[in-house]
């Protein structure tokens, strides 16, 4: 028998993208909002870009009875509504639609999984998918563990039928509600899958951000030497939303800003800006560096929680000229809710690079605009040269990585105002990815689904990262239990005045993004 050459010589030069292995994507919760708005449009976009495997199928799992054709018709509408490629390309849709199937069952019904297994094996024979599976848990988080256990118990993982095939699982957010619930979910996952097979979604990581931060830091020699406590005064990470809870009241009221945004997305952003250069840009090397950052953040004591955190809750106000209700007046929110919709934190990373540099994190709903950015504020230059002469005080340099909207990088520096007097003024050098590269980035879910199909976990979160960031967040929540209720703030301003005082005590101020 011939041995295969280690690589395919005909692929040389044909774009570095890895060709995905055959695969069936099984979506649990396939009639839900996430599937319609994000997942299937993303799969269609991948098909449009020719990035799906040749042998491919999608099986939707939900409880309402439906024929394959009904399901396809619903998804066609969803794609027509939400794909970034408009109008829908009939040839691409038709070939994808032929690969879409519906499987009706209750999540708790073992027989439903056995039938699913038989159906998947039939698809393997018909479509050449060879036992490769990607399970996607797009359901309420309360269902996650039950589905994982059913998958294991009914022979859908490590199947006899295809012992070398890959089975992977994507778990949606929220990943747990606390350290203990996250551990429980991790335990259930570990009972059925290896860590390599588990893909925990943080859709923030699917934005171009991660690679952009890595490229900015490690592909430009001018920044890295300054990226430490010697030159950096502090770092501000802001994720502001102008929206309120928008119909998610019942979920949000049991969760709050810290769990919903800080534990996952903001901790990920923080670890990306603060991590040491990884040895490679592969998943494990990056995860190793990120988790080292999280380990270097010491969970707060209750006293530190009082000192280093501020929480707020939006009151009535107005947004874009419209009066908006207070949080406590939102549907499915308790009228005496103590859930925070705003949080500001100060964290310290106790390692050589960041010793003594505060990381200020700020997130809130119903803030003046939707924006996400990371700002590195450098120390002020010694005032000996310009301090006395200049009429305006010298502003320290800042480097801002804007994540949304209008992703880009801006640098604030001081320049002399033309004229006889030595007046300095801060000027901004602004680079926008959209302006320079055209606006054709794939959407977050597209990137993440593609990576999970090819088995690349770089843009997903690893077990140790999730658990460590829960430890940090749990300590804060515990401290809040014995603290007064969140400070109210008027909708449409940058959070409660206490948040301003909080940073002003350190002789600093929040940026106005």
């Amino acid at each position: 028998m011939q041995t295969a050459p280690p690589t395919n010589p005909l692929q040389e030069g044909l774009s570095a993208q890895r060709t995905p292995e055959p695969c069936v994507v099984v979506i649990f919760g396939a009639t839900g909002d996430l599937t319609h708005r994000k997942l299937v449009p993303a799969l269609y976009n991948l098909a449009h870009e020719g990035q799906l495997p040749q042998s491919f199928a999608i099986v939707g799992f939900a409880r309402r009875p439906k024929t394959h054709d009904q399901f396809r018709a619903e998804l066609r509408d969803a794609v027509a509504h939400s794909s970034r490629f408009q109008p829908i390309n009939p040839a691409v849709w038709e070939s994808l639609a032929q690969a879409i199937f519906y499987h009706q069952s209750e999540f708790g019904d073992a027989q439903g999984y056995q039938k699913l297994n038989a159906f998947l094996q039939k698809l393997d024979a018909e479509r050449g998918t060879a036992g490769h599976r990607l399970f996607y848990l797009a359901t309420a988080p309360t269902e996650f563990i039950g589905i994982i256990e059913q998958l294991g118990a009914n022979g859908l993982i490590h199947s006899q039928h295809a012992p070398t095939a890959s089975q992977r699982i994507i778990v949606e957010k929220p990943f747990g509600h606390s350290l203990s619930t996250a551990e429980e979910l991790n335990q259930a996952l570990a009972g059925a899958f290896d860590e390599r097979q588990i893909f925990r979604i943080d859709h923030y990581l699917g934005k171009e951000t991660v690679q952009n931060i890595a490229a900015l830091r490690f592909a430009n020699e001018i920044f890295e030497p300054l990226w430490n406590q010697k030159y950096v005064d502090h770092i501000q990470i802001t994720v502001a939303e102008s929206l309120g809870v928008e119909g998610r009241g019942s979920y949000y009221d049991g969760s709050g800003a810290l769990r919903d945004m800080v534990q996952n997305h903001m901790m990920q952003l923080l670890s990306l800006v603060a991590m040491e250069p990884p040895t490679t840009l592969d998943g494990p090397a990056i995860h190793d560096e990120k988790v080292k950052v999280l380990r270097a953040i010491r969970p707060m004591t209750p006293e530190q929680v009082q000192q280093f955190t501020v929480r707020g809750q939006y009151a009535r106000g107005s947004m874009a000229g419209q009066a908006v209700p207070a949080y406590r007046e939102e549907k499915n929110v308790s009228p005496d809710s103590r859930t925070e919709t705003f949080v500001a934190l100060k964290l310290f990373i106790e390692n050589w690079r960041w010793f003594g540099v505060p990381f200020y994190l700020r997130h809130g709903k119903r803030l003046p605009k939707g924006v996400a950015e990371i700002a590195v504020q450098f120390k002020a230059p010694p005032a000996v040269l310009f301090g006395a002469e200049s009429t305006t005080p010298l502003q320290p340099n800042a480097l801002v990585m804007r994540i949304q909207p209008d992703e880009g990088i801006a640098i604030r520096m001081n320049a002399k105002v033309p004229g006889n007097a030595l007046n300095l003024q801060p000027v901004k050098m602004d680079f926008r990815y959209g302006g320079s590269f055209g606006a054709h980035s794939p959407e977050a879910y597209e990137r993440l689904l593609h990576d999970a199909i090819i088995g690349d976990s770089t843009l997903f979160t690893r077990r140790d990262e999730v658990e460590r960031s829960w430890q940090i967040v749990d300590a804060i929540i515990e401290g809040w239990n014995s603290a007064p209720a969140p400070f109210p703030y008027e909708s449409g301003i940058w959070g409660p005045p206490e948040a301003d005082k909080f940073i002003e005590r350190d002789g600093r101020e929040w940026r106005r993004p």
């Binding site: 295969a4 395919n8 005909l10 691409v92 070939s95 909207p405 959209g434 302006g435 320079s436 055209g438």
Partner: protein, 361 residues
């Protein structure tokens, strides 16, 4: 100093004549005016963007009009400083004249315009001698320079030498050449003369889907073993412009990637021409790669911009499937090439083999 009316004309894409020596200054003043008027909130903000120098060589008015049309779309994805050269050495009167215009696209939420500039230079008769000196100072520093040569550069080799000296990439399309095949040896030599410049033929770019479909047959390790067992590669092509050269390049690509010596390549690769009445033709009509046990086929579907791939070993190396060709107009092909930016060593290898193979056939 230009006025607001001139700025509007400029950003609307209308050409304004300028003195060749004043091009840079005039552009500078227009952008400065744009920056100042952006401070007025009633005006749309204008940002100038530039990621590369894009020189286009044209010999006729039609080519230069086509270049402007291509640049106008291309700049939304690849902001550049475009320098369109209309060069007519065979015209008696000496001329060296220039004009400038801008291509603007709405960006993001539609509040901002991202603009790129286009400089057109017309050189005729003895004026052509000054062309190199006119272009050099116009190149934006620190940015790559791409030269898109419309037509056959081997016929204008002196001019080509001068321009290629400043280019990092040269893009051309042999399917527009009158008789490219006998010139392959010369072409390959020119490429080796410029090791720091990357050359690509849009005819090769058009082979992208054909290459990808063939490559995908052999992704799975069990199918990859078939590569060593290939007996023949049959390539059927039409008679359209560049079709036979594309078929030759394709066959040479397979042979070069599999390290077949020339004799083996000649023996295994069979090219044949066939009547082609398909209005959507892409040159190659079908290919069949045959091993002892399997035939891997790709066929252009009649009347559709798609190709179908099939293997006659069921389930072994993928199921029959169909893929759409990328649009093959110049703008789309150039855009694909500008996305890449690496040297086309695979193309160069295929071309080198095509030269020997073609000569020895």
């Amino acid at each position: 100093m230009p006025d607001t009316a001139q700025l509007q004309t400029f950003t609307a894409g209308v050409e304004t004549a300028v003195d060749v020596a004043q091009i840079e200054r005039q552009l500078h003043e227009l952008w400065q005016l744009a920056a100042e008027s952006a401070k007025d909130p009633s005006q749309r903000q204008i940002t100038r963007a530039c990621l590369l120098n894009f020189i286009v060589f044209c010999e006729t008015d039609a080519e230069s009009a086509h270049a402007s049309e291509v640049i106008s779309t291309l700049t939304s994805q690849h902001p550049c400083r475009a320098i369109v050269l209309l060069v007519q050495p065979d015209v008696a009167s000496a001329e060296l004249s220039a004009s400038i215009s801008a291509h603007c696209h709405l960006a993001g939420t539609g509040q901002k315009q991202v603009c790129c500039e286009q400089i057109a230079i017309h050189a005729s008769g003895p004026g052509v001698a000054h062309l190199g000196a006119a272009v050099l100072p116009l190149l934006e520093s620190d940015l790559p320079t791409v030269l898109w040569w419309q037509g056959d550069f081997l016929k204008r080799i002196d001019l080509f030498r001068r321009l290629v000296a400043v280019a990092d990439r040269v893009i051309y399309d042999t399917s527009t050449w009158t008789d490219p095949q006998p010139q392959l040896g010369d072409l390959a030599r020119r490429i080796t003369e410029h090791p720091r410049c990357s050359f690509v033929d849009l005819s090769w770019t058009r082979l992208g889907l054909w290459r990808r479909l063939a490559a995908e047959f052999f992704d799975a390790p069990n199918c990859r073993t078939e590569l060593a067992r290939i007996r023949t590669v049959d390539i059927v092509h039409g008679h359209g412009p560049g079709a036979s050269l594309r078929a030759l390049l394709y066959g040479s690509w397979i042979a070069a990637q599999l390290n077949w010596p020339v004799a083996e390549a000649r023996q295994k690769i069979h090219l044949s021409a066939r009547e082609d009445r398909d209005a959507t033709s892409v040159g190659i009509l079908s290919i069949a790669i045959k091993t002892d046990d399997a035939t891997f086929s790709i066929r252009k579907n009649f009347g559709e911009s798609t190709a179908s791939a099939t293997v006659d070993m069921p389930n072994a190396c993928g199921l029959p499937h169909k893929r759409a060709f990328w649009p093959e107009d110049d703008t789309s092909l150039l855009s694909q090439e500008l996305d890449l930016g690496t040297r086309h060593t695979v193309y160069e290898k295929a071309l080198a083999l095509a030269v020997i193979e073609d000569v020895s056939r």
